[in-house]
């Protein structure tokens, strides 16, 4: 059977998929004030990952992105320490909460494999000077930076992403949600096409198999990365789009996990196992 058939059969048979290595490059952990999340602790996440056959998730704690980067990054580190084979962490840098200090504290800690920025939640533009220590760290280390993007935002519209990529062409930038809104997908694609180290991550309420396919065909599969945003949004809604999307085998492997394994390799973590990762 083809990979697509294997994956679809696993869904229809209600069993976890085993055919390919899946890495979720956009996840969180912990409660969130705006709404109730029934299952959001680290063990809950790993249980659902096992249910579906997702090998790894790279996460930032909701505490870190919402309230307090310092204690939130501690929560992320603890979650990764509890599940080192399945979870990895994003170091959240809040531009109002001592970016340089936070990077110095955690920059060498192998539990963190990327930096996460959330300009919308922190009400500070991605292009602002308070993020300077992040770009310096990323240029020096090769660390990937995942940033929230939202079309029309005064803080992290895709155009802000393009401006940062112009200034820091060596930094690997992952555009969380790829602009998030359908009217911004074209612009996100244009920014990624114009900048070799800008990639698109595909979680959010407005994506579909068709939008993922469009991004892959426009940019090549190497520039599109699976993320779910769970437990903000259920893992399975996001993953289902990609499982059933009209992609060939190599492209599906790359987007599901191959690209993420490559992007996070700067930290020296091995792939989950020897299944295809692109």
């Amino acid at each position: 059977m083809s990979l697509a058939a294997d994956l679809e059969t696993a869904v229809f048979d209600r069993v976890p998929q085993r055919a390919v290595s899946i890495v979720d490059a956009h996840a969180h952990v912990g409660p969130y004030s705006e709404f109730f999340i029934p299952q959001c602790e680290p063990a809950d996440l790993v249980r659902v990952m096992d249910r579906c056959g997702v090998d790894r998730a790279v996460l930032s704690s909701h505490l870190a992105i919402q309230l307090d980067a310092r204690s939130g990054n501690e929560a992320t580190a603890a979650a990764v320490a509890a599940h080192p084979d399945q979870l990895a962490g994003y170091l959240v840098v809040n531009p109002w909460q001592n970016p340089a200090e936070e990077l110095a504290r955690w920059g060498d800690d192998p539990r963190f494999v990327g930096v996460k920025l959330h300009p919308d939640l922190h009400a500070y533009p991605l292009t602002g000077s308070r993020y300077a220590p992040v770009w310096e760290f990323a240029e020096r280390s090769g660390c990937l930076v995942l940033t929230h993007t939202w079309t029309g935002s005064p803080f992290d519209d895709p155009k802000h992403l393009g401006m940062v990529a112009d200034r820091h062409p060596e930094v690997v930038l992952l555009a969380g949600h790829a602009g998030a809104l359908p009217e911004g997908f074209d612009q996100a694609i244009e920014v990624a096409a114009a900048h070799p180290r800008v990639l698109l991550e595909i979680c959010g309420s407005y994506h579909s198999g068709a939008t993922i396919t469009r991004m892959v065909r426009a940019l090549g599969a190497s520039k599109v990365v699976f993320g779910s945003d769970f437990p903000f949004i259920d893992l399975r809604y996001s993953l289902g789009r990609l499982i059933f999307a009209d992609l060939d085998t190599e492209d599906r492997i790359a987007v599901l996990g191959g690209n993420a394994s490559r992007l996070f390799a700067w930290r020296g973590r091995p792939p989950a196992d020897d299944r295809p990762t692109g």
């Binding site: 229809f12 709404f35 029934p38 939008t211």
Partner: protein
């Protein structure tokens, strides 16, 4: 619950209560005719569907309803869902007359778009229609974004025998949804975008699988989302079957179409 089996597989019978034909004006959703819809259903193992016409939402409700009946004529797997309006302008006819026409045409549910069509779900102009729907046992489908939960609850309380199916719930609403479901036994959720992480399992644990219906939200939503969500849920096979088609079978008269 016993947890998911490895045997249910494609034997899960799915009834899609939230799908539409036609052309969407605000998304790259293509133009969906009966042939494309049936192909989509086959691809995802969906046996039957309750279908609206996008023309009723985005252009002319009454004409769209008539067109829908013509499009579905002779297609046993597809059941019509008409769009309702208040009758204050004489657009769809008096409530009882409208419902009788709907029944004769094989309509199994109706859908309201209070926000798009500029009226109140719980307003006095819809009172007669709610009453007629209750008498005819025709469920009313509404997307959460088209009304307020307060209006849903008000209608649910005022019309005891009504069946209200709310869709497009999203992932930010559990605090509100749980309260409404606990107070209103006649409110049900279409899971086409019930996207709270593990929210489906949590809600089913509280209210039972019989309060939930499978729907894709196609063509605006990707059916792959909810198919994967339901089949890879942590619910047991009985609950999945109930949500997949059992609840719809109990609430909607989809057994046979008029000849």
């Amino acid at each position: 619950m016993d947890g998911p089996s490895t045997e249910l597989g494609r034997r899960v019978r799915l009834t899609d209560v939230s799908v539409a034909l036609g052309r969407h004006p605000r998304a790259a959703a293509g133009s969906v005719a009966v042939k494309q819809l049936l192909a989509m259903m086959d691809g995802f193992g969906i046996a039957t569907a309750v279908v609206s016409n996008l023309a009723s939402r985005w252009h002319a409700p009454a004409a769209g309803n008539r067109e829908l009946v013509e499009m579905l004529d002779g297609v046993d797997r597809l059941h019509a869902c008409w769009t309702v309006l208040p009758d204050v302008c004489g657009e769809i006819g008096a409530a009882d007359e409208f419902v009788e026409r709907a029944r004769t045409a094989g309509v199994v549910a109706v859908r309201a778009f209070p926000a798009d069509h500029r009226y109140r779900l719980d307003g006095p102009d819809l009172t007669d229609l709610h009453g007629a729907l209750v008498r005819a046992r025709l469920p009313l489908l509404v997307e959460a974004s088209q009304t307020s939960w307060e209006a849903v609850e008000a209608v649910a309380h005022r019309f005891d025998g009504h069946t209200l199916v709310i869709g497009d719930v999203g992932y930010r609403s559990l605090r509100t949804v749980a309260g409404v479901l606990s107070r209103c036994d006649n409110v049900y959720l279409d899971i086409s975008y019930l996207a709270s992480h593990c929210g489906l399992e949590w809600l089913v644990g509280r209210f039972g699988a019989g309060r939930f219906l499978f729907g894709t939200g196609s063509p605006l939503r990707d059916p792959a989302e909810v198919v994967t969500r339901l089949l890879w849920s942590e619910l047991d096979d009985d609950a999945v079957t109930q949500i997949g088609s059992g609840t719809a079978g109990r609430l909607f008269r989809t057994e046979r179409k008029p000849s």
